[in-house]
Amino acid sequence: MQNVKIVVTGPFNAGKTQFIRSISEIDVVNTERKITSKSEQVKAQTTVAMDFGRITIDDELVLYIFGTPGQRRFDFMWEILSEGMLGFVVMVDSTRAETFRETRRILETFRAYAPTPYIVAANKQDLDNAWEIDDLRVALRLNDGVKLLPCIANDKETVKKILIELLYSILELMD
């Protein structure tokens, strides 16, 4: 059985866990605990180690999707989780500009870890106060060669599209 891995990363509350939930065939194995910090109580729980989802491709191939924890104190997990990955998805909450700097930090950290392709998913694009994709590209300092796609993490179709585009990027690199 061949296993391959894609990592989903991004700042706190970007939608990583929901992204994996939307596509995984198994209930996402997650490691959530109650948030203790008042400043981070935009949600009730947060991932403290990783999320883990699975898609069985066929009898011989399984895709695992690992979600990194978003809180800074767990960033030591990133390098561990990124080992052997095919590529990664960086999720950004399009409605919270205060997270853009953290998104850039995560993106540049992962780029330094591994030469694998990546895609940036601009999540929460269904919300009124979401930044436009073009504006996000400038705010995140992404050059034109980086794929930046709209995403709604609880919409399976947009999640599929993002993963497929990442896989196309991997194919292009192999040419």
């Binding site: 061949q2 391959v4 891995k5 596509i23 898609i55 491709i57 066929d58 191939l61 895709l63 052997g84 990955m85 095919l86 700097r101 953290e102 850039r104 930090r105 540049e108 950290t109 780029r111 330094a112 030469p115 694998t116 392709p117 300092r141 050059n143 399976k156 599929k160 993963l163 497929i164 896989l167 196309y168 991997i170 194919l171 690199l173 192999m174």
Partner: protein, 271 residues
């Protein structure tokens, strides 16, 4: 109880603050990448400092500050033999060549520069030894630490922000195409121009910093300036390992790897 630990857990600023408030006397040993420095304190005041194996006698300090020429420094070393800094200082003052105020100022500047080199360091170890006295042949000065602590706190904050923007100095940069920016017309400082000269994917930021004798904070500051101006974009260094799908899909041929990726795509399309 030993006052020792890692700079990652207890930055220099906090150590200086502790020494200042507790009015400690002794020597602070700092070890980073195999290089050790010693900073001496008396009742919470900075009195002397030695950076790694850098020559910190009075002749060397005056020469670095350009108060004496190379020829003069060589002559002093040759003629004066093994006299102490105090004796040399007296000689220079009595001969009317340099004033006491100037000599002390040069020493203070040097000792402070040693401390400044560590203000934003987060790697390495420290140990404070209360019995470690300054070398008897050096001229001690007495400087309050308040200003250096304030300066260090500002730098530490700036350093954290810069590390967020540029987490790794192993990355490189290239000039952005079609920015409409005429680099020749940019108003950059001398230091910034020196960095611009080295911008190419072949040179990591670490290498550029080394070539220009810049520390981590300085190189990050310049790179961020250029990034924000849209002049450059960050890329992986040309020397960095290239993408190799075999690390993700081991023991497979290139054809098998392509087949796997295509199977993934087809499966996801029907999911």
């Amino acid at each position: 109880m030993a006052l020792k630990g890692n700079l990652s857990d207890f930055p220099i600023i906090q150590i200086l603050n502790l020494i200042n408030l507790a009015k400690k006397s002794g020597g602070l040993l700092i070890q980073i990448s195999g290089k050790g420095s010693i900073i001496h304190f008396q009742n919470g005041k900075l009195v002397c400092a030695q950076y790694a194996d850098e020559d910190n006698n009075l002749v060397a300090i005056l020469y670095r500050k350009k108060k004496i020429s190379r020829k003069q420094s060589e002559l002093i070393r040759k003629k004066a033999g093994k006299i102490t800094d105090k004796q040399l200082g007296l000689m220079l003052v009595n001969s009317g060549y340099l004033s006491q105020v100037l000599i002390l100022q040069c020493l203070k500047d040097y000792y402070l520069s040693v401390v400044r080199r560590y203000l934003t360091e987060t790697k390495g170890t420290f140990e404070f030894i209360s019995t470690l006295e300054p070398p008897p042949d050096r001229i001690p000065v007495r400087m309050g630490l308040e200003n250096v602590i304030i300066e260090g706190t500002r730098q530490l904050h700036e350093s954290e922000v810069l590390k967020d923007e540029i987490p790794s100095l192993e990355m490189a940069a290239k000039f952005k195409k079609q920015t409409g920016v005429d680099i020749q017309k940019l108003q950059l400082s001398v230091q910034e121009w020196k960095v611009v000269k080295f911008i190419t994917p072949k040179n990591s930021f670490k290498q550029i910093a080394h070539a220009n004798n810049m520390n981590d904070l300085e190189i990050r500051r310049v790179i961020l300036t250029l990034l924000q101006a849209g002049v450059i974009e960050m890329v992986r260094s040309a020397d960095a390992p290239k993408m190799d799908v075999s690390t993700a899909i081991p023991n497979t041929s290139k054809q098998e790897q392509r087949s796997i990726i295509n199977r993934l795509i087809n499966r996801l399309k029907t999911a």
